[in-house]
Symmetry: none
Subunit: 200 residues, 4 copies
């Protein structure tokens, strides 16, 4: 990577960092593109060198923390699938919580309102979550941890549904909802039960 490319990468990083802080503090709708670029110390137009739309930066904000989960799962290769999924769910909610409620809101909005931003399934977090989870389950089938006829699509939806349901509850709970407790309860009580009929 040459000097110019490094500078460009740095500019993008500054934009993402600035956006994260501003959205965390104020919410996505409140801030505008100029707020982000001002905080990042670049010109307004520079935003659009890196993101096609204002909304697109939200996906990139979540990229780093959530991609770490994948790395961690790779280190758990030898462990059983229930452990892996438990780890995935717990870490997922940790990341959600650490990103803050305002960014969480934006993720849910992407999910419930496809008209919000047109045709950008690829730029929405939940689509990544679905893919990541599906991969985990598919691997478990390949590793013969889960039966070959495991309904992967369905399981993926069950779990993502539970997670986004918790996210929804977190956003509406005014702090009385402890995401980490809930996800733990879900993993301990329900997850095993859901999986048991499919484990080999």
């Amino acid at each position: 990577m040459n000097k110019r490319q490094l500078a460009a990468q740095n500019t993008k990083r500054k934009l993402i960092t600035a956006a994260l802080e501003l959205i965390k503090e104020n919410g996505f709708d409140i801030i505008n593109v100029e707020d982000i670029t001002r905080k990042a110390g670049v010109a307004k137009g520079t935003f659009y060198t890196y993101f096609k739309r204002k909304e697109d930066i939200v996906l990139d904000i979540s990229r780093v923390p959530f991609s770490e989960i994948v790395d961690e799962l790779l280190l758990m290769e030898s462990m059983e699938i229930t452990k892996k999924l438990t780890h995935y769910c717990k870490r997922f909610m940790e990341c959600v919580e650490s990103c803050g409620i305002n960014i969480c809101r934006q993720w849910i909005r992407d999910v419930i309102d496809p008209n919000h931003v047109p045709n950008n399934k690829d730029s929405q977090k939940w689509n990544f979550d679905v893919e990541m989870l599906k991969t985990i389950l598919e691997n478990a089938v390949m590793d013969k941890e889960l039966k070959p006829d495991t309904p992967i699509e369905l399981l993926t939806h069950v779990i993502i549904c539970e997670l986004y349901g918790m996210m929804t509850c977190w956003c509406m709970s005014d702090g009385t909802f402890e995401p980490l407790d809930w996800v733990e309860r879900f993993c301990d009580v329900q997850l095993e039960k859901i999986l048991e009929q499919f484990t080999v």
Copy 2:
């Protein structure tokens, strides 16, 4: 009720009907107040005779179907609490489904985005849902169907969370999610388990 009051009631009804159809078809953000009043056959300003804000009509749209659930529960007085809650949950999702995905979206938005409309907890559907469910559980405690130390707040949140989680999933599932199946599964499998430690 005199002539004038009847006319007024009729105007309000026309507005609600028009809004229901328009939102169902197009989504809340797409339509504007003038669309509603035009369809209802009244002047723009008339909307504000009946609703303080554009958003407020969404609550009234859901009033009728959901209030019927309460009526039905009154007829089930003698039945055990699990049955009642099961009925509540199933009918709840039926109403959600019949109102359509676009109105469902708006309910979730109210829940996740408190800044969306400032300070109108009273005009949001989910607040009604919480109150209604809490009442059901409180009555069950009073009727000694549930133990006196039942954590009503928590149970309310668990169930509402599940329901709104399902609503969220429905909105994001592109039709592959069958709300009625899911709620049935939840009621049959989990609800009883959740309640068993508190039933007398």
Copy 3:
């Protein structure tokens, strides 16, 4: 017309007057909607109560002067068609000239650039001109001043072409082009020749 309607009519008139003066002075692209409303003494949004798009006010600017030509032609009923057309052309260019070069430019732009404003043939001056001229010729056929097989469409285009050609020249001539002299020459020399084969 009641008081409110009068007030509304007055507001529209103020907007048109303000726009005429501003465009005459500065050109259509230079000024913005806020300039117009500020000069008219109303709020920005009021502009859009009367005009769907910024461009639409240009047609209304030309409505009054050009509609007077029709009135004048009605008074010339008994005169022969060549005289009427001569009057039309001369008065047309007078109106063009009095509206000024900047507004004339905008009319031509509407003509040459259909993408400039999408699908608004009805809001463009040249369409009105074509219709008006066609009516004059059709009446002449009905009054048996012109032969029944007169190619009205073609004649209309010939004359409108000549007029818009002159307008184009005027805009590009930096003042060396005298529209009134040219139109007079056109009428005296060519118009009669063009018509003679169709006059009865």
Copy 4:
């Protein structure tokens, strides 16, 4: 011409070709500089190595076809001025037609809207046309084909006006206007008449 100059010439040619095709297809306003450079296979900035402004490429697009007319006139040296002018006008409209309506529009815009691009008379097609035609007439005076007191400026304007008038009509005619027929009629009927008082 060395290797580097050849490469440069080639780059410029690629840009002009790309621009011609894109404008023909979509119109000048629709496309942007990046579209042109992408199609030409060069970097955005390269455009500005060859053209000071986006608009300037339009002139170069027309350079080749129209300069051929001059070459052809040189071969007609011995012919009388009316023939030459007739040839000029006919070939002029042929070139206009072959460049397409979208490029024609841009030429007219340059003519009617001097504010469109500031102070670039030198980069506008119509200015070239005026100069070329003036030269033809001046030569005719020098060759004593036209009287010494022939009002060259005026004649130039008459003819250019007619041609741009036709171009305007073409752009607004939606295909019902046949430029080649019109220019022929003009040459046959009017051009001779206009010239007769000045021919020796």
